[in-house]
């Protein structure tokens, strides 16, 4: 299950080429060094104007590397990326005019206040004093930070700092905003505030590309999701399409006391009504089920000779899509 499976292809839309704001073609990145790491192994992706696109993948999948290349901070080994039609390797300075970035870590300027972080960002992008001032104040209001304008970054909570970073990233009115793990380290409340902020960007017509390894986040925020693992795009589409084609199935993990007979148990389960598939996992058996009604008692009964230790059920979600595609958990 490597590469984009044909059934996961995007719904074709009659949109001309130039409405793709981000175009990634056959992108490869190899980090040479003592240990050679293939971070990206041929990624293709097109992001349409105005959409919110989520890159979902486990640690080390290549999400940050992809964003790094799109935002001119990392040089690709091969392949091309264009932003608004501008090649990021050939014309990085020009491409940066259209890009906003919120990196994975807090990179606010510690020597400046929150207001000044916004103000000077505007100045870097050529706004004169008065415009930079009014834009900064408007952004502080928009992101509910007006009272914190005079504070320094070190005095903010993680959620506030993240909002400042988003405000700063869009201050120069970029066409596309890249958010790398925007909710990493945020408490649930701040995460929701951040989601609202991102939703708000849609109204401004800003295209958003975000990375995450929280499938709920990808599901809740994104119009389309790309699932990446080990530098490859495994599937691409709307969350609904992905779930329908790869994972509209419940995943039931049955952990067994005695795993010696697990193989034959898996065989027995495969024939049960409602079961689409069953396979060995290190601790027992994993069952993919289309219809769970009445299935659990049967499964438990089949397992009972070997001793059922634990049972976990994952409802259909991008998580089960991921498990289906890779045989692994997102968190593994």
């Amino acid at each position: 299950m490597r590469g984009i499976s044909p059934d996961a292809a995007e719904i074709p839309l009659p949109i001309p080429m130039n409405s793709y704001i981000v175009e990634i073609k056959a992108l490869k990145k190899v980090y040479e060094g003592k240990q050679r790491v293939v971070a990206l192994d041929g990624i293709d992706l097109e992001v349409r104007q105005g959409e919110i696109f989520g890159l979902l993948g486990p640690n080390g999948a290549g999400k940050t590397t992809t964003i790094g290349i799109c935002t001119t901070r990392t040089l690709p080994t091969s392949g091309t990326v264009t932003i608004n039609g501008i090649d990021v390797v050939a014309h990085p300075a020009r491409a940066r005019q259209f890009i906003g970035v919120v990196p994975q870590f807090n990179t606010l300027d510690r020597s400046l206040t929150i207001y000044e972080n916004l103000y000077f960002h505007c100045r870097y992008f050529g706004m004169p004093h008065s415009e930079a001032k009014s834009r900064s104040n408007a952004l502080l209001a928009q992101f509910l930070l007006s009272e914190r304008g005079k504070a320094y970054p070190a005095q903010l909570s993680g959620g506030m700092a993240q909002r400042v970073q988003i405000a700063r990233a869009i201050a120069h009115r970029p066409l596309v905003l890249f958010l790398d793990e925007p909710s990493a380290g945020l408490d649930p409340q701040s995460r929701i505030a951040m989601w609202e902020a991102v939703e708000g960007l849609r109204k401004e017509g800003i295209t958003v590309v975000l990375t995450t390894h929280y499938m709920e986040e990808a599901d809740a925020l994104s119009d389309r999701v790309g699932i990446v693992d080990r530098g490859r795009m495994l599937a691409l589409g709307t969350p609904q399409v992905l779930k329908d084609t790869h994972g509209a199935r419940t995943v039931i993990d049955l952990k067994l006391r005695n795993i010696d007979g697990a193989d034959s148990i898996a065989e027995k389960m495969k024939v049960l009504a409602g079961v689409d598939g069953a396979e060995r996992i290190p601790e027992g058996v994993r069952v993919f089920a289309g219809n769970v009604d009445g299935l659990l008692p049967e499964l438990i009964q089949v397992c009972s000779p070997l001793g059922l230790r634990d049972i976990s059920i994952a409802e259909p979600s991008l998580e089960t899509v991921f498990i289906h595609l890779t045989g692994r958990d997102l968190r593994e």
């Binding site: 039609g85 940066r96 870097y124």
Partner: protein, 283 residues
């Protein structure tokens, strides 16, 4: 790709092309550094002023007032002050350069990666590095100029600058300051924060002491190996250049050689520094 410019306006974004982008971004970066500096004006002045102040006080005020048996005492004291003036200006330039770029850069590159937002400016990344050199040069110039009134007020016998060629003075001052900034950039971008103290003791201090700061280059005549050895040290040309411009009566290197060497070292350290900077921000 040539249609990109027309696309910009087509997509509704404001027209953002032209060379003005570069100047405005550069000005923005400079203003940001200026804002940070003015917030710490006191520490800045102390930092650049303390060393020349103490040097002048000890060597041109205290020593000459000491009784016999001191080699610095007597007639030597005043002329030493004259030798010291350009040398201390060179030291002020050096240390401001290091303090203005190397120290902040090594933290901005560190875990906080504060430099990121500036690197994302719509200008080539090299411009961000060059702005650092220019801003540092501004601080160096202030530091060097501060030495002049000190040399007049502190020593037992005032040391007045005898600048005859103002153009030469301005040229040497600006080039030396840019050179110090380039050195600071090279150090700040290639040394990790933990080792910056070590670099100070094994590079900055030695090149200062061997930089013809406290003695004119011509004074090394008796030690030919040293006289030629120090030619690899860019500080030599800063102090000799300032000697030629500020106290031309003291024997100094030929002006053409000084300017040539300053240009040479500025080119080398500038490109080394910019390259080190690029390596740090582009992977």
């Amino acid at each position: 790709m040539s249609s990109a410019a027309s696309e910009m306006t087509a997509t509704g974004a404001p027209n953002r092309s032209g060379g003005m982008v570069f100047l405005k971004a550069f000005a923005g970066l400079f203003l940001r550094d200026l804002r940070v500096l003015t917030r710490e004006l006191g520490p800045f002045l102390l930092r650049v002023g303390m060393q020349p102040l103490l040097f002048l006080f000890v060597f041109t005020f205290v020593m000459p007032h000491m009784s016999s048996g001191n080699p610095m005492a007597g007639g030597a004291g005043t002329s030493f002050g004259t030798i010291l003036l350009p040398g201390l200006m060179a030291v002020a330039i050096m240390f401001s350069g290091i303090a203005a770029v190397a120290l902040p850069l090594s933290t901005e590159f560190g875990i906080t990666r504060e430099i990121d937002d500036r690197v994302m400016c719509p200008v080539p990344v090299a411009a961000v590095a060059i702005e650092k050199i220019c801003f540092s040069a501004m601080q160096s110039i202030i530091g060097a100029l501060m030495v002049i009134p000190m040399a007049i007020w502190i020593p037992a016998k005032p040391v007045y600058p005898e600048i005859q060629n103002w153009l030469l003075f301005a040229l040497v001052l600006v080039m030396s300051s840019l050179l110090a900034g380039a050195l600071g950039l090279t150090i700040g971008a290639s040394v990790n924060p933990k080792q910056i103290g070590l670099v100070f003791s094994i590079i900055v201090v030695p090149i200062t002491f061997l930089g013809c700061v406290y003695y004119p280059w011509a004074g090394l005549k008796q030690m030919v190996w040293l006289q030629y050895g120090v030619l690899f040290n860019p500080i030599v040309y800063m102090s000799e250049g300032l000697r030629a411009a500020v106290t031309p009566s003291v024997e100094h290197m030929p002006v053409w050689a000084i300017l040539l060497a300053l240009t040479f070292f500025l080119g080398i350290l500038g490109s080394l520094g910019v390259r080190a900077f690029l390596r740090r921000v582009i992977s």
